[in-house]
């Protein structure tokens, strides 16, 4: 099969750093939104995706604002609502769709579904289901960077609920004891499945956990991509300078159910309405228009381009074969 379609950021006529950054952010946030919409609202309902689907609708500013600052040597360990991280690291759109559709050309060749994918060539580590399991793994990645004298930082992503897990504590503790270059990024979307924050932790903020590890912790508006980006930049400066781990808590809201089959009746309607008004894409868009960084027509062209990319990628993925059952036993171990 020919190479999978790669998402290509259109060059913009916008001049000046902030405008350029805004265009990039908007592009990737929109890409994530549209890809996940396609998956959840089309492909899933068409039965093309047979397993569970979890999306990051409303949370796009977090993977985008953070991952855009990743250097090639950095290693990223996204969680299940951080799809944009994949694209920013260069994972082709087509392969992502192939993953969701259980095809041979997905990065897991049909062995895995949804966001359970990674590619070490792209410095992307796949999550496993057990929440926070990647947190100590991120510490190990960072330990190896220092060991090898590499300049990188490990980006460790997790949700608010994941911080209740023992692995989270052990991983953060080890990273701080060793003063490792890890940026801990929490998407605090205020729910863990149906469980609200108050039933998950007694402290008000995830950032309140920083001092338990002598770790700087900062709260940022997770629906303001430029704020996330700025906070990430500051945090990374400290981490890259050898300051040890840093915790960035991005306040946001999960604008869907936990997964495609959850109608989220347990979330008060007003909360959805309130957060709808803070949609990170709409907010950035308005700001760009207000600041004269873009015009409506230009933004529409970008969106249209994204939709075309997606159409192509879905088509490509749909042409990808299902994995051959004869491969079932391969790669449990290194083949000799």
């Amino acid at each position: 099969m020919s190479a999978a379609p790669v998402s290509t950021l259109p060059s913009t006529s916008a001049s000046g750093e902030p405008a350029e950054l805004a265009h990039k952010c908007l592009y990737y946030m929109t890409l994530m939104r549209e890809v996940e919409d396609r998956i959840e609202r089309k492909l899933y309902r068409q039965g093309k995706i047979v397993g569970g689907v979890y999306v990051g609708r409303g949370q796009e500013a977090i993977p985008v604002g953070t991952a855009l600052l990743a250097e090639p040597d950095d290693v990223l360990l996204p969680s299940h609502r951080d799809m944009a991280v994949m694209f920013i690291r260069g994972m082709p759109l087509g392969r992502v769709f192939a993953q969701y559709m259980g095809r041979a050309d997905g990065p897991t060749r049909g062995r895995e579904g949804n966001m359970h994918m990674g590619d070490l060539k792209l410095n992307l580590v796949s999550i496993i289901s057990a929440l926070a399991a990647t947190v100590p793994v991120a510490a190990g990645v960072a330990l190896a960077m220092r060991y090898l004298g590499k300049p990188g930082v490990a980006f460790s992503y997790f949700g608010d609920g994941a911080t209740s897990r023992g692995d989270w504590h052990e991983g953060v503790n080890f990273a701080t004891v060793q003063k490792l270059p890890v940026l801990f990024i929490c998407n605090n979307n205020q729910y863990a499945y149906s469980t609200p924050l108050s039933a998950q932790m007694a402290c008000a903020n995830v950032a309140d956990r920083g001092p338990a590890y002598s770790m700087p912790a900062e709260i940022v508006d997770g629906n303001d991509v430029l704020a996330v980006h700025a906070a990430t930049r500051r945090a990374l400066e400290q981490v890259r300078a050898g300051g040890g781990p840093y915790l960035l808590e991005c306040k946001t809201f999960r604008m869907t159910g936990h997964s495609a089959h959850d109608a989220a009746h347990y979330v008060p309607k007003e909360l959805f309405e309130e957060w709808e008004r803070m949609d990170p894409i709409a907010r950035l868009r308005s700001k760009m228009l207000a600041n004269g960084w873009a015009d409506e027509a230009g933004l529409e062209r970008v969106r249209a381009g994204i939709l075309r990319e997606i159409d192509e990628a879905v088509e490509w993925a749909d042409r990808s074969p299902y994995p051959d059952p004869a491969t079932l036993l391969d790669d449990v171990y290194e083949q000799s």
Binding site: R111, A130, Q200, Y322, V332
Partner: protein
């Protein structure tokens, strides 16, 4: 109206909570949400927050807290959202709960419910069959019902048991199996297998979802003139070797079927028990039909190739029959 396997568990839990005020539930999203599979839907409304405790995402704490509560005479029923996450609370189960009675005489009457098994395109982390991690741990009891009748009767026995019981409910059976259940109360004893189909030519031993596969295969075999006896283990620990051996004494040929992967699976334990006890009765090798030794793959054609099914059972059964 017939009751599903899922509703049977629900009913069993409900009845036990009505019967004994010391029975309570804890787990993730089991209260307001009613559980990922809705097994406990409506419980918090009826029994209140005191008896239906939503926990943080902390499998270690869920099991640990259940142990602690059991010391004061409560009968906690903990839910793992998926059986796959039981490995996150592993030490509490195998080292704390399992060994208290033996070590210092403290009973730990608790139940851990764990939805296990594949066939729902759940991939490597929502499809596992972790039972053998626990079958090798003295002090635990392990239950894996196949029918709605047994699911209800066994969850009730599990709640009343004075030792820690792992209750593996097969996700694939939740809504697939429907049976008319008795109106009056009943329980099913832990530790007793059951001959669910009589036959004299060949024994098929299975548990969980594979009981249905075995029964379907037995139907087909009957059409071919082969009378297969099907034994449903129901409890995996303590293992009812007697019932299995009794059947093998009669048929002299035995096929062991499980959805779990092969190496280190229940079939091994059964094979050893059988050849130890009734070697001289055997007219052919003890044959296994199991999943192969890989993680559970996600994509449908792979998962289909992975899971044991009627065809695979038939193939081995025919081979064994001819042996």
């Amino acid at each position: 109206m017939p009751t599903t396997y899922l509703e049977a568990i629900r009913e069993g839990l409900w009845e036990e909570m009505e019967r004994d005020p010391n029975v309570f539930l804890l787990g993730e999203d089991i209260g307001v949400y009613g559980g990922a599979f809705k097994v406990t839907a409506g419980f918090i409304e009826h029994f209140g927050e005191r008896r239906v405790v939503d926990t943080p995402i902390s499998e270690g704490a869920i099991v640990g807290a259940a142990i602690g509560a059991s010391f004061l005479g409560l009968r906690p029923v903990a839910e793992m959202q998926f059986a796959d996450f039981i490995s996150c609370g592993f030490d509490q189960i195998v080292n704390f709960a399992a060994k208290c009675r033996y070590r210092w005489g403290a009973a730990v009457p608790m139940v851990i419910r764990a939805p296990s098994g594949g066939g729902i395109h759940g991939g490597p982390f929502h499809s596992q069959n972790p039972e053998m991690w626990f079958v090798r741990v003295p002090g635990l009891k392990v239950v894996a019902p196949a029918t709605a009748y047994d699911a209800k009767g066994l969850i009730k026995s599990a709640v009343r048991d004075n030792d820690p019981v792992l209750f593996f409910e097969h996700k694939g059976l939740y809504r697939r199996i429907r049976e008319e259940l008795p109106g009056e109360e009943y329980t099913v004893p832990i530790g007793k297998a059951k001959v669910v189909r009589e036959g004299r030519d060949l024994t098929i031993v299975a548990y969980g979802a594979m009981v249905w596969t075995a029964l379907e295969a037995a139907e087909k075999l009957a059409e071919e003139g082969v009378q297969a006896e099907v034994v449903d283990l129901r409890t995996l620990l303590p293992l009812d070797r007697e019932t299995v051996i009794e059947s093998v004494r009669k048929t002299s040929k035995v096929l062991l079927v499980h959805e779990d992967t092969r190496t280190g699976g229940m079939a091994g334990e059964l094979a050893a028990s059988i050849t130890e006890s009734v070697f001289e009765y055997l007219d052919g090798p003890v044959v296994r039909v199991t999943a192969p030794d890989t993680p559970v793959p996600y994509s449908p054609p792979l998962e289909e190739a992975f899971l044991p099914n009627v065809e695979k059972v038939l193939e081995k059964a025919r081979w064994l029959r001819r042996y």
